[in-house]
Symmetry: C2
Subunit: 97 residues, 2 copies
């Protein structure tokens, strides 16, 4: 499940209008619309507010958001998988410290 889809489906499940979510996130309704369509990426602060507004686990949402950043960095590259694996290895060895 992609971030934009998750946000949209959650909003609909909760029966909220774009306007209501926009209010809670403190941005224009149009921006929420774009985020749900995948035209815009939410900022980190917006992710936090969206998690609250839509009652989504924050870590889950953050993970998804970060993973899409990562995905965009490498998508289309022929070395995409290698690059991600290398980054993963680095993170893992760093965490051990």
């Amino acid at each position: 499940m992609i971030l934009s889809e998750l946000l949209k489906s959650k909003r609909e499940t909760k029966g909220l209008l774009l306007r209501e979510v926009a209010y809670k996130v403190d941005v224009d309704t149009a921006l929420i619309s774009k985020i749900e369509k995948g035209d815009r990426k939410p900022t980190r602060e917006q992710i936090e507010k969206l998690a609250v507004a839509l009652d989504i686990d924050y870590n889950k949402l953050l993970t998804l958001w970060l993973s899409e950043k990562v995905y965009e960095d490498v998508q289309g590259e022929n070395v995409a998988i290698d690059a991600i694996k290398l980054a993963l290895k680095r993170i893992k060895t760093e965490v051990k410290k």
Copy 2:
């Protein structure tokens, strides 16, 4: 091995001055210095030129460069590993198509 370290060690192995590498990459010497110190990230075009100038395998250099982008996206996050793994999963399923 980190990108900046690789670039520096390769240059030194080849006995080149910053000025000479800068010439081949077509930028100011100071910029190469910063890149080797990790203060600046090379652009993609610079990566290509650096690979030629320093006789480094292009794919290897590109992989390293991309992996550092990924690393920076998630480093310091408590969900860093999950985010990377999720991105990896998405890339893998996409490649299959």
